[in-house]
Symmetry: C2
Subunit: 327 residues, 2 copies
């Protein structure tokens, strides 16, 4: 269930565009007016408003929002205004700048946010925006960070494959044999072909999610521990076990995974991680899984997601996120 | 320019279906009637005929053709009757049975026959037919043949990537630096990460075709030899240099590559290779590049493609191929 709420009677795109222009004019911006409009329109409606605004006032609505708003609020509204495929292309591109830190963005796009067809739409948007493929930017990341080859291999495998989406062809014998491959690699820790990680990456990179869930279930039956728990923890300099754990979580139970990201992002002790918070809320607020993410959050945290956000954030940024969550 | 010819006034699908039924009835099949209809209808028209036939006579046209025809002729008609994306999915699936022999089929589909969007259509057809992804079948091929890992890696890279199709973003500096990567790997021969082949596969697997052509041109400028000529020849047991050469040829000049396949397939000395002959003619006869392939064939051979086919094949198979070539 999506969490955004759209009024029963929606103003015309021209009326919304005019109301936005009014919110921008005069001393200061009327941020509440911006929120009351844009946080309560779906992707198609927002696109129509942006088109109408540009047509009528000869300026880009996104550019105007950029100059009127600031900080985390501005970044959240900017991402919210993009078309869902384009938004993920922009996020993926930023992640390729430093995949060792930003690998979760790529793994989520490849393994949790999208069907195979939706992932192709993200890649198509990537072509249009950057005149390159997502694959080449993941495979040959720009050199602002270290990029151990094994992490690149894993990320490239998951973003490349046009995965089979169905759950009607799970092969239990294959699941059992590939659970052994996973175990072999996990037991050897680290990474590298010698440890069986080429094979592990092949399995995680190419099998359908339903097949992988069966493989992970076989692993758990056999070894009394989930794959994610069996993966080595601690400071692996390559970051590979962390990236692999993220992929396994995204495949196994995306709602639980995103709830965990949100719990970490709103932890009092570590300071708020606004980038992750914005990413999960903006990407999922109008997707079917946001309700399940909120429920999974509440199950493990001592409060609702709205309460956590209300506590950890402030100002227009807080109002905007809460509006997207239907408060 | 496509080579198939469609009559100015095309009979209705119902008329064609009735004429086909008539050709099947009585003693023996009237193969010439089958050819005169099916070889002169485009993909959409053939699909309509098949639908009409099934609707009217309660049997699958493809199944009936299968039981009425035989040998190379039957196989060629069968592939011709499939939708272009479905046809390549069927061919790719057969190739995964023994990729060390059949790698050219996969490389052609990934690097020469299709745009990025068309390749996605082939993969979508693969999902519908086999309830698995092409990627998982390439990465974990069935064990009827040997499958050295390096060949699997190369094939998986080229079939996976949603390549950038444009030629508007060629980076000459990148071409020069990646020509060095190609040279390093080619000089080291064989395969394996140590020889720089991981990097070579990354380049060939992810860059746009226009970018790769610039890289190959830099290579030639620098080393006075094309990449394909520089790759080691002879009996490499892995087959990797051959697969890599095929990929380089498909990217560099697909028409020249297909003309070469056809020259080999119609060589008097080695016996006719009907599978390759059928594949290239059936896949390209209604594509824009068949004219260029015929021209490239004639430039290097001492005869036209039609003459070579007339000499090396016979019977209904010959008539069918020649009809597809517009004779």
């Amino acid at each position: 269930m999506a969490t955004i709420t759209v009024p029963r009677v929606v103003p015309s795109p021209a009326e919304d565009a005019a109301a936005l222009l009014k919110a921008f004019q005069g001393w200061g911006t009327d941020e509440q007016a911006v929120i009351s409009i844009l946080a309560h329109r779906d992707a198609t409606q927002r696109k129509q408003i942006a088109l109408e605004y540009e047509h009528k006032y000869s300026e880009s609505l996104i550019q105007r929002l950029h100059s009127e708003l600031s900080g985390d609020f501005e970044r959240a509204v900017y991402h919210w205004m993009l078309d869902p495929a384009e938004r993920q292309a922009v996020m993926a591109n930023a992640a390729t700048e430093c995949i060792q830190e930003e690998y979760p963005v790529l793994v989520e796009i490849a393994c949790a946010n999208n069907s195979a067809a939706e992932l192709v739409a993200v890649k198509k948007a990537y072509h249009a925006l950057y005149k390159r493929s997502l694959e080449e930017d993941v495979a040959a990341p720009r050199l602002t960070c270290m990029h151990p080859w094994i992490v690149v291999q894993l990320l490239l495998a998951v973003v490349s494959t046009y995965r089979y989406d169905g759950d009607d062809n799970v092969d239990m014998e294959l699941a059992r044999s590939e659970a052994k491959i996973v175990h072999e690699a996990v037991r050897n820790g680290g990474g590298g072909a010698a440890g069986g990680h080429d094979e592990l990456i092949r399995v995680v990179g190419t099998r359908s999610k339903a097949q992988l869930r069966a493989t992970f279930a076989c692993f758990k039956d056999e070894h009394r521990s989930s794959v994610t728990k069996a993966l080595p923890r601690g400071d692996d300099p390559t970051g590979y076990p962390r990236a692999l754990r993220t992929a396994a979580r995204c495949v196994a139970d995306p709602s639980k995974y995103f709830a965990k990201v949100l719990r970490h992002a709103t932890r009092e002790s570590a300071g708020t991680d606004e980038d992750s918070l914005t990413r999960v809320v903006v990407v999922h607020a109008e997707k079917d899984d946001m309700g399940a993410i909120c429920a999974a959050f509440q199950k493990r945290a001592s409060c609702t997601l709205e309460q956590a956000i209300a506590k950890e954030t402030s100002g227009d940024y807080r109002s905007f996120l809460l509006a997207l969550l239907g408060s």
